[in-house]
Amino acid sequence: MYNRKLKTWTIPLIGLGLMIAALVSCTDSLDVTPPDEDVLTSAQVFDTPADFRQVLAKLYAGLSLTGQQGPAGDPDIQGIDEGFSNYIRQLWVSQQLPTDEAVVAWNDPGLPEFNTLEWSSSNDFVLGMYSRIFFQISLTNEFIRNAKDRPEEEIQAFNAEARFLRALSYWHALDLYGGNVPFVTEEDGVGAFLPEQTNPSDLFNFIESELLEIENSLPAPRQNQYGRADRGAAWMLLTKLYLNAEVYTGEQRYTDAITFASKIIDEGGYQLDEEYEYLFLADNHLSEGIIFPVPFDGLNTRTFGGTTFITHAAIGGDMNAADLGVDVGWAGHRVTKEFVNNFVNIELLAKSQTQSFAAANAAQDYPEIFVTGSFQEESNYGSNWTPEDAPALASVNSDDVYEGYVYFGSENTEFKFTDERSFDVNWGDNDADGTLDPDGANIVAAEPGYYLFDVNLNELTYTLTKTEWGVIGDATIGGWEPPDQDMEYDAEGKVWTIITELSTGEMKFRANDDWLINFGDSDGDGVLELDGGNIAISEAGQTLITLELGTPPYTFSTERTSVDSREMFFTEGQTLEIEDLRQFTQGYAVTKWKNLTRSGQQGKDPTFPDIDFPMFRLADAYLMYAEAVLRGGQGGDTGTALQLVNLVRERAFGDTSGNIEAGELTLDFILDERARELYWEAHRRTDLVRYGLFTSDDFVWAWKGGVQEGTGINDILNIYPIPSSEINSNPNLVQNPGY
């Protein structure tokens, strides 16, 4: 019985098995299309102009981002930390670290060798930049391959931009790696083939012809969307190509450099921004002087490279990251003494630094009483009627005679004195007669102002003297004759300050334009004495004078401030000399890049600045014009050159005080001016190579060649080596000479 039942079941059972097997055995099921809507095939991608535009966006992202996930997580480049792999970051490292403009404290593999110019072909950063450049070239080729035969005008416009971006990257390959690089265009495919090696001349010609071909297909200057390349960008790249042509090919092209620099200056419609600082702020997209920006955004364009890297890496030591609009410093980059020297007389600067330090360390432990009252909150002394926060008066001779300075911000201030930071023992003045009464009534000061307090607890008396402070002396503009140079009270810092022009000589501090209360510094230690000796000023120039009274001892400092607004050093706690590259506090720090808007607001995110990187900008074009003229190019004139250089300097100095005469306009001056104007913008290495100073003994800087005082190095280092892994994977390539 069982068996019969079974027989009736057998056929369907086996049949079912075979049927299911047949159904699913269809090997078509092995042809799977990615089910993820974020993953598309080529056919889906290169369809409408809108699709092309998204791929075009990736070509620009090749400069600003490191992958498909911000700030990191799905990288473009393998085998290197994703943050490091950023184009701008790599470019910055390649162009800045081996020069006098920057050193780095970090010891990530391969990085210290950039400080000392000792890289080899297996260096991680040599590979990183190279990989990024050729990733970008592969992307642009793919775009051009798919776009070039499309009839749509819009796609052709995109195509011109893609060709510009490819030319830009090939220029970097030419400039950094010497042009002996694999040459791949849209004519080549994707996959297993070995590209041929090109040479500097051919590559130069290719970049030039590409740029000339697309010049008129690109929108007129400033007519494309922000962040995208226009004709101005192409002109700028051509100018740079021609200016350095002699380095690349041995042939001078200065006349062509002038031609295209002139186009930028005359036809571009760009303006020098009012303030130099504006170019490096969170809202620098408002700048009129940026020709080709690489935009970053705290919310939408996040990376650990780009201006995130440039801004954070500059912050360390005693710097307050919040002052630069970010949450933290990475304690990496500083400048060498040789670079600082472009701005100031270093010996004098160092001395004024020492002076201010002496004063800063002058705190003493004197017996104290406290002034507490209704003024505290408004005048920055904590909460009202809180002795814990109250300003102190000190008895310098420990004789129960106290003095000190306290600021009252408004009228009818009420206050009392306390013995400790509590109300347990306190004095008021019951009948406002100038004698103190234990637990007496509040004392009232009618006028706001900066008061000298004298309190005698032996006799229970007190006096208040209102003071306004200034400086006088032959070192000051007004000499020893009144009126004094008035200082301003800075309620936040609780100090009096003035920025004024000092000459060498002497000066003193006076209250109320009168010798009744005056301070000097007899022993030059930064601590002030009443009626003390004159203060010697040894360095002339724009100076920030700070007077700190408050609780004795009273101190002051003078700090030479530059008149060149491009000099943005942070020096507190930093030494000028760099004995140990790994210490952030050695070498001056730089505050040029700030994640703050012109009005001082922080960018959208404290970690990822909104600052756009100005790849090309107008002042560079001015200086290139001038240089090309000085180098003998035709079609320009020295008069215009001088005028352009002085425009740059007028912006820097705020007036014509920094202007130069025709005789001062030399190639050496241009190089220094380029350093002052364009430092930390990834130009320096190219400039030094063009001037023949990158490797030479004629110009050395700290740690050039691996020694602190700097030394000349082998000329082979003028270009980077082809990475060894690339030599291994492509037998068509011959290494750059010497590596």
Binding site: I20, S25, L40, Y60, Q69, I137, S138
Partner: protein
């Protein structure tokens, strides 16, 4: 209950006892287990030559039936025991003791697509049964056979509850692709992808439900699994009910105390103060606090875990339905604060038969819910680095940072790149996951009528999992100052579902050819598998009322298929000469249509030497079998997604957009692809000798193997400009692995009340990379791997031609006369006067040269005791815990202070010396994995019921010269290991 059982048994007996003959020759008796002396119910008894005349023992092991003649011979057989033939010789009462078949409990081995008599097996297969499983607090299947099988290295997971032990069979065979074995559970191949939110995908299987584990090591055994078999195959069979089995209820309880028995040696507060005052200026001293905090003490604590399992096994024979049901609960708490695993498992196994047992049905369903709390494991490293002079929580809840100490700058803002307060890290981070997983299958095996020996088998299986995880960090906390989202906190949700389905259909034909003195069986089948996965990550502000600073939504979907045909033939001649041939053809969607099909053959021969005449009468030698095998397998788990061959584009996420004017545009990136990609192919040669002495009191195997993997997948640099990536996975290179395995098990004493067995196994392996790139250039150092802490992007290992995989790639340290390392002084290997990368040498590797496993079991009356231990010899470890500390970096330029391990006092290294070989240490060790003692109370409620009490120490001790916390480091880079606890376990087992 008892009554019910009696009815069942009666029914069972009624069904089984055939109609008796007319002659009344009744034989009766009792059958007991020769070792335990327990009565054996269900023993089959038949009259020799008359297979239809027979009976089975009842619950008390008693039998009674009529035989045709008192001169016949009875055959007693029972699964797991040696068959006995007993001539009646006129007796009417015959009591029998059956000897357990110790070599394999059941005499059969589970192999791919079927089972086989152990003696007919030609491949290298080890079976571990319940009886041999490791005792202790086992949460995952891999731990059950740790140290038990020669050639199989199970590296314990770290100390996290339910962490994943890594299994390497014969050293694996790959560089970039997976080296893990394929797991097949009751016929369902598990997806080789990890499950997010679960520390170990195999946690889905409750070890208490496992009946046996087959480890398939050589190609003869694994080639039937084709393109996934290069890492070996592990087949797990779960417990099932058996026909006629009485109802048994088993309750198993374990309580464990996990203790943190060892800490990383770090500087005490005073030692740190001393070194800071010696080496740094005043300003650094001022930053030191006045406390004396042992941060490791703060984050680690002893913990208690519990484990309950209850199972019911039996058979509803009236409807022909053997069953097993089980429910298990594991509440495992880690020694790191807030780390735990709660796991609820259920399993159902039903094995009905129909049509007079001609249709057998196997239904298995397993479900698990895992609640994982991961704690914040980065606190482990931070507890080592964090300044011990600082207080844990100087403020009150409600203060800034919730009162916890945090490094701040001069303005009081957190220094986001300083280490986070480890206690705050744990308290202010929440990271947990809930994992649901169901695995099940229905297998139908049909004995095709009218064709004797022909079976059709259909297996439909699924493996679904669903994961939800959440991770949040408190805003403004001290805990995660390092991720830049400090102000608003982060909330991150992750969901993942996986759907894997499998369909297999095969036919098997058994045939005996008595005239040719031969028998053979042929299996041929077809298999189809689909793996589908979706996941979504959503990240936002902790408090979404704040200005939205973080929002990221990442979706991911992927799918792949595997279609295969397979076949096997087993041929036996004269029961002495065996031949096995297998073949599998696999097609996968992971490769392009040109490369997706692969053929994986194997052939093996075996010679049962002991069956030969010259050995047949040997009293000493009871078994001797020579096995020779050859085969090819593949590895398609290449770790680069499911579409590495396809030209495709990926859309960027919202945080990675590009500004065009006022608009932010999502970008489309072409992905690098390699249309020529295919699987790795491993050719294995295997020679083995199985031996047994003294009636198999002493048994074992000695085996040698050679594996060559060609088309080795390796990530190599792409010639610049030719693809959309700078590195791509390519089939290039060759790897050779060789080894010798030896295993022996001895039943030293096997008496009525005393039993003692010992097992020992050892393995020697070595591996060499013999080819790595297209262009063989002497300058090519190899592929640098093994990222370490310290700096960004430093690696310490390298794959190089002529060296083992993952060789350490270091500079050779020079020491002074006292044996102290000289900082920055290394051997200038190439003599160019500069110490740089080209002076790095390949020095040792993490792979052990020799592995040893040893275990023993001792029983006396109701007492039992066992231990199991392992040794690893010649494995090296890079001590990254020590190597990341240098005197000059104890004080950061940003003003915070690091603590260090005490190693700094020995090396006195001032600056980073990451590549010094002084940090590469010989980490050979012997570890006593567990020691176990038990006592069984019998006859409590009735004769069947027992209670066993046991006590176990897990991770009892370790012998090593390694200076770090624990020498057992998978991958060879020791950094912030979650310490493995020493665990004391009390167990209670009720068997009703």
């Amino acid at each position: 209950m008892e009554k019910f059982k009696t009815i069942l048994i009666t029914l069972f007996l009624a069904l089984c006892i055939p109609v008796a003959g007319m002659t009344q020759n009744t034989v009766s008796g009792t059958v007991i287990d020769a070792e335990t002396l327990d009565p054996l119910p269900g023993v089959n008894i038949v009259v020799k030559g008359q297979p239809t005349v027979g009976t089975a023992t009842n619950l008390d092991g008693e039998y009674s039936f009529d035989v045709p003649s008192l001169q016949d011979t009875l055959i007693f057989s029972f699964i797991g025991f040696l068959r006995q033939e007993v001539p009646i010789q006129g007796r009417t009462t015959i009591d029998i003791e059956l000897e357990p078949d110790v070599q394999t409990l059941e005499g059969v081995v589970v192999i791919g697509y079927g089972v086989q008599q152990k003696e007919d097996n030609t491949g290298s297969v080890n079976v571990i049964n319940t009886r041999d499983f490791n005792q202790g607090n086992v949460t995952s299947a891999q731990e059950l056979f740790q140290g038990k099988v020669a050639g199989v290295n199970v590296t314990s997971g770290d100390g996290a509850p339910g962490s994943r032990p890594e299994v390497r069979i014969r050293g694996g065979s790959s560089l970039s692709a997976s080296n893990a074995p394929l797991y097949v559970i009751d016929g369902v191949p598990l997806s080789d992808d990890g499950i997010a939110g679960s520390r170990d995908p195999l946690n889905s299987i409750n070890p208490n439900d496992i009946e046996s584990i087959s480890v398939l090591k050589d190609a003869s055994a694994t080639a039937i699994y084709g393109s996934r078999a290069s890492g070996g195959v592990i087949i797990i069979t779960t417990k099932k009910g058996r026909k006629g089995q009485p109802t048994r209820i088993n309750y198993n309880f374990k309580a464990s105390l996990n203790t943190n028995h060892k800490q990383v040696d770090v500087l005490s507060a005073d030692q740190l103060r001393t070194i800071i005052s010696e080496e740094f200026d005043e300003s650094a001293l001022e930053r030191l606090g006045d406390q004396n905090t042992d941060w490791q003490d703060q984050i680690f604590d002893n913990s208690i875990s519990q484990d309950h399992n209850i199972s019911v096994t039996g058979s509803m024979d009236q409807i022909g339905l053997p069953y097993r049901l089980s429910v298990g609960f594991t509440g495992s708490n880690g020694i790191l604060e807030r780390s735990s695993l709660d796991r609820l498992t259920t399993s159902v196994a039903l094995n009905p038969t129909f049509f007079d047992e001609r249709l057998k049905v196997d239904i298995n369903l397993k479900g698990v819910r895992e609640d994982n709390f991961f704690s914040a494991e980065s606190a482990i490293g931070e507890a080592i680095r964090f300044d011990p002079t600082q207080p844990v929580r100087p403020g009150d809840p409600g203060d800034r940072f919730d009162g916890f100490f945090a490094w701040t700058d001069s303005q009081g803002n957190p220094i986001t790149i300083a280490p986070a307060n480890p206690v705050a890290r744990i308290q202010q981070t929440s990271d947990n996951a809930v994992v649901f997983r169901g695995i099940g299958n229905v297998q139908l095996d049909l004995e095709v009528p009218r064709v004797e020996g022909l079976h059709a088998n259909l297996n439909l299986g699924f493996d679904y999992s669903d994961v939800g995880t959440g991770d949040f960090r408190v805003p403004g906390s001290a805990a995660f100052a390092d991720d830049g989202s400090n102000a608003v906190g982060v909330r991150r949700d992750f969901d993942q579902t996986r759907e894997n389905e499998v369909l297999e259909f095969y036919m098997k034909y058994d045939k005996e050819l008595p005239r040719a003195n031969s028998r053979f069986d042929i299996t041929a089948g077809y298999s189809w598998e689909r793996n589908y996965e979706t996941s979504e990550t959503f990240e936002t502000n902790f408090n979404i009322d704040d200005v939205l600073q973080v929002e990221q939504d990442i979706d991911f979907i992927t799918e792949r298929f595997l279609v295969s045909a397979f076949g096997r033939i087993n041929y036996s001649f004269m029961d002495k000469y065996l031949l096995t041939g297998t073949i599998r053809r696999d097609g996968t969607s992971r490769f392009s249509s040109e490369n997706r099909w692969g053929l994986f053959p194997s052939v093996a021969l075996a010679w049962k030497i002991h069956e030969e005449g010259f050995l047949a009468n040997s009293n000493v030698l009871s078994e001797l079998k020579l096995r020779l095998g050859w085969g090819e397998t593949g590895q398609q788990n290449i770790g680069v997604g499911n579409f590495p061959f396809l030209a495709r584009f990926t859309v960027s996420e919202p945080n990675a957009r590009v500004q065009f004017g006022d608009e932010f545009v999502n970008t489309l990136r072409p992905e690098g692809f390699n249309s020529d990609l295919k699987w790795e192919e491993t050719t294995t040669y295997n020679a083995g000798l199985d031996y047994g002495f003294l009636n198999n009191r002493l048994t074992g195997t000695i085996e040698g193997f050679i594996k060559e993997t060609s088309d080795l997948l390796n990530v190599i640099p792409v010639p610049a400009g030719t693809n959309f990536t700078n590195r791509i996975l390519t089939n290039i290179g060759t790897l050779d692995v060789q080894g010798i395995e030896f295993g022996v098990t001895g039943r030293i004493i096997s008496k009525r009340e005393t039993f003692w067995s010992m097992s020992f196994n050892t393995t020697w392996t070595r591996d060499r990379i013999s080819k790595l790139t297209n262009v063989q250039s002497p300058d090519f150092v190899g592929v640098e791997v093994g990222g370490i802490s310290g700096g960004v992007g430093n690696t310490i290992q390298v794959h190089s031609v002529d060296f083992p995989r993952n060789s350490f790639f270091v500079l050779e340290q020079v020491y002074d006369a006292d044996g102290n390392p000289l900082e920055g002084v290394y051997v200038d290997q190439n003599g160019d006067g500069i110490i740089n990368d080209s002076d790095r040498i390949r020095f040792q590797s993490p792979q052990a040269d020799v592995l040893v496993g040893v275990s023993s079991r001792f029983e006396y009356k109701n007492w039992d005791a066992s231990f199991s231990g392992r040794a690893s010899v010649g494995n090296y470890v890079y001590n990254n815990t020590d190597s990341q500390f240098f005197i000059n970096e104890l004080v950061s330029p940003l003003g915070f202070i690091f603590n260090s391990t005490t190693d700094i006092l020995d090396t006195r290294f001032r600056n980073a010396q990451f590549f010094s070989d002084t940090f590469v240490e010989n980490a050979s060790f012997f570890r006593m994995d567990n020691i176990n003692v038990g006592y069984t109370f019998e006859n409590l409620l009735n004769t069947e019921s027992t209670v066993r009490l046991s006590a176990t120490v897990e991770n009892a001790f370790i012998i090593t010269n390694y200076s770090g916390l624990d020498p057992e480091v998978f991958g060879g880079i020791d950094n912030n290991l979650f310490p493995r606890p020493r665990t004391f376990i009390l167990g209670l087992n009720f068997n009703l």
